[in-house]
């Protein structure tokens, strides 16, 4: 008797669970940087009010976000790794990639700046100097957009940091926030996007040491997942979300999002 | 299922031989008391006869009935009653239901063993005597043709002993064949129609009670009755 009641309850719970994700809703596979900064908490209510489309955000590293989208487990991809995004579209997984917004990367480090890179504007010499000094550097090491960017900069600088992996170069294999927590815990330099940094609460004595290089530019793109590859996607709703983001209204909403009085993302969608 | 015929019964555990070519015949009615020194194999003989364990060799014949059938038509009351973690009533309900008996018999059974007033109490909080009476009621609930009792009154107070003897005597009077292991000489005299005396893995003597107690034939039984250590 007891077992039967419990069984019925379990079934009811299962069915209720299944029904939740239906209706007009889409899943956005996105990056931790956009989610952790609170951008979606600001943007989505505006969009949802207007269209009635519920947007569910799965925030993971760019690498995992793309993999998930390739498995058809999302309707929209919103990440920051242009080359990988273009490949995603070329392979037929996405309908079209549009530049959406940008911010920039910065290199943060402890106030006492053991590698003496404070105030440097060019990323590559700063990285070289960190490597030469053998100062600790914490990397995402997770194939995310930030990690891809960091690796490209090391290559420019002519340094293969992975040779020192486990020595001064520490690959956390984690998200941006976890890597910042780890880096700060061990006194290492960390490259992070500015949005995450500004909204990050556990800064301790850390400061931005390197910023302002054009090479530290961080472009975000938006791509609806292709209904041809993934018949299960909600193509219409996905398209209207992407369209809204790049519309004048969406763009000004992005520009209006501030943390601690600072604008975190700069809209740069091509005008139609 | 009676008479019972046992021939050449052997029970071994590894190197140890507990029963060694035992032979026994039991008639259709009465109360057989099984006696013998510790380690003579009384409890194991009961389990063999009831079909709970398999002999190493030999033959146990309950009037040609199949082993499974034999166990089903008998009941065994253990020295230490194994009661379910439920109320007194639920312990009986369980057996009545499991064996497809009339559930309405519970009240009569409890009344018969003097536990009607304890029906709702947790069975495992009963005193030793009460617990054993419940075990007896449970055994009787299965309507056994043969009732085995393995020292059911060891470590009980005199009143409890008499209460249990009364219940067993009632069952005997209703035609249930009783096979009763005991060390209690007084109990044996009160209950026995015949006595089986086990010694060194065999039936050393099987005599009617009026013959056994005054004049045991075998030396081991004489020593045992006389309070001497029997090896």
């Amino acid at each position: 008797m007891l077992a039967r009641t419990l069984g019925t309850t379990a079934m009811a719970v299962l069915l209720a669970g299944g029904a939740l994700a239906q209706d007009q809703s889409i899943i956005v596979q996105s990056t931790t940087s956009t989610a952790n900064s609170g951008l979606y908490d600001y943007l989505l209510p505006i969009f949802e009010d207007e269209t009635g489309i519920k947007v569910n955000v799965v925030a993971v590293g760019t690498g995992q976000a793309i993999t998930n989208a390739e498995n058809c487990d999302g309707d929209v991809l919103l990440v920051h790794a242009k080359a990988a995004e273009e490949k995603f579209v070329e392979s037929g997984f996405g309908t079209e990639r549009t530049d959406l917004m940008y911010n920039d990367f910065v290199i943060v480090g402890p106030a006492d700046d053991p590698a003496g890179v404070a105030g440097m504007q060019d990323a590559q010499p700063a990285l070289s100097q960190i490597a030469e000094q053998g100062a600790l550097f914490a990397s995402r090491g997770d194939d995310s957009g930030t990690h891809k960017k960091e690796m490209a900069l090391w290559e420019d600088a002519g340094v293969d940091p992975t040779a020192a992996s486990g020595d001064w170069y520490r690959e956390t294999g984690s998200g941006m926030g976890a890597t910042l927590n780890a880096g700060i815990g061990m006194g290492a330099y960390v490259m992070t996007d500015r949005a995450t940094w500004i909204s990050f609460d556990n800064k301790q004595d850390y400061e931005i040491q390197v910023e302002g290089d054009e090479d530290l530019f961080n472009q975000y793109g938006v791509i609806p997942v292709s209904p041809e590859k993934c018949p299960s996607v909600n193509a219409e709703a996905a398209q209207s979300f992407a369209d809204w983001l790049v519309s004048e209204e969406g763009q000004s909403a992005i520009a209006g999002f501030e943390v601690a009085g600072q604008q975190l993302f700069f809209p740069n969608a091509p005008e139609n | 299922m009676l008479p019972l015929t046992v021939r050449d019964l052997v029970l071994r555990f590894g190197e140890t031989t507990v029963l060694d070519g035992l032979a026994l015949d039991l008639g259709a009615i009465g109360c057989t008391m099984v006696m013998g020194p510790n380690g003579s194999g009384k409890s194991l003989l009961l389990k063999l006869l009831h079909g709970l364990i398999e002999p190493s060799a030999g033959r146990i014949d309950w009037g040609g009935h199949a082993p499974r059938e034999v166990t089903r038509r008998q009941a065994l009351v253990f020295q230490k009653p194994v009661l379910l973690r439920r109320s007194v009533a639920a312990n009986l309900d369980f057996v009545l239901k499991a064996r497809g008996k009339d559930a309405g018999r519970r009240a009569a059974l409890l009344d018969h063993v003097g536990l009607a007033h304890k029906a709702a109490q947790p069975a495992r909080l009963l005193s030793g005597g009460e617990a054993q009476r419940l075990a007896l009621a449970r055994a009787l609930a299965t309507d056994p043709e043969v009732l085995f009792l393995d020292e059911p009154t060891a470590s009980l107070d005199p009143a409890s002993v008499l209460a249990i003897e009364r219940i067993v005597s009632d069952a005997r009077a209703r035609g249930v064949r009783i096979v009763f292991v005991t060390h209690d000489m007084g109990q044996a005299r009160r209950m026995a129609d015949d006595v089986v005396f086990l010694h060194r893995g065999r039936v050393a003597e099987h005599s009617p009670a009026p013959d056994f107690f005054p004049r045991p034939r075998c030396a081991a039984a004489r020593d045992y009755l006389g309070g001497k250590i029997v090896v």
Partner: protein
């Protein structure tokens, strides 16, 4: 270490404020993990009972496998469930990924072996006590299993509690199959992971304290049932 003091204050403030988001997260945590526990018991207890009373070839191997599965890493379970429930996976057509149901499935797989292995031990001990009496009563295997499960019910509560504890505390599986989606699949542990990654350690810890208090409450409730049962010698 001022974070710990902050967190305690924050935890109290969060609970007192009756924050709707917090309540939603707590309720989802309970719903997911309790459902997983119930289903894991429906699956695990019969298996535990069968192995407890069974004497069959390969039983030792089954025992080793059952005990080893107790150590299943949540993230591996999450990954396996993800690969099955993904739209491109064999069960993708169900559309269950990123739903509470997917989280229940993952946690059920995670804790069913715990329920099976621990209940096997409990039931085998009880069966040692009952076996001879049950054979004398000529009970069928089904009757034996039912009697064992019922008589061990209070000990099995503790087994269920062990499963629930593991489910409600794990983050690796639910974050992969649930996606930590706000207002949909965010539970206590994934919320804690999120706040940690935002660097809001005090809030993360405060959520952790709330989780701990919930776990304490569930344990206390079960323990009080057991104490009542023990008074009746039903344990």
């Amino acid at each position: 270490m001022h974070d710990i003091g902050d967190a305690l204050g924050l935890a109290v403030a969060l609970v007192l404020s009756g924050d709707a988001d917090l309540l939603e997260i707590v309720l989802l945590s309970l719903r997911v993990s309790l459902s997983a526990t119930v289903i894991a018991c429906l699956v695990g207890l019969p298996i535990g009972a069968l192995v407890a009373i069974g004497r069959f070839r390969g039983r030792d191997v089954v025992l080793i496998v059952m005990n080893a599965l107790m150590g299943l890493p949540p993230v591996v379970v999450g990954l396996l469930v993800y690969l099955h429930l993904s739209r491109s996976g064999p069960l993708g057509f169900l559309g269950l990924l990123y739903t509470p149901t997917a989280m229940i499935v993952a946690q059920t797989i995670l804790i069913a072996p715990i329920v099976a292995a621990l209940s096997r031990q409990v039931l085998e001990d009880l069966h040692t006590e009952y076996a001879e009496q049950f054979r004398s009563l000529c009970l069928t295997r089904l009757q034996t299993i039912r009697a064992l499960l019922w008589d061990a019910r209070y000990s099995l509560l503790t087994v269920g509690l062990a499963g629930f504890g593991r489910a409600v505390a794990e983050v690796g599986a639910v974050i992969i199959v649930g996606g930590n989606i706000d207002h949909l699949t965010r539970v206590m542990t994934t919320a804690i992971a999120l706040e940690t990654s935002k660097g809001d350690l005090a809030l993360a810890l405060a959520l952790g304290i709330v989780l701990l208090v919930i776990a304490l409450g569930v344990n206390a409730a079960v323990q009080s049932v057991r104490i009542t049962a023990a008074r009746h010698a039903y344990v």
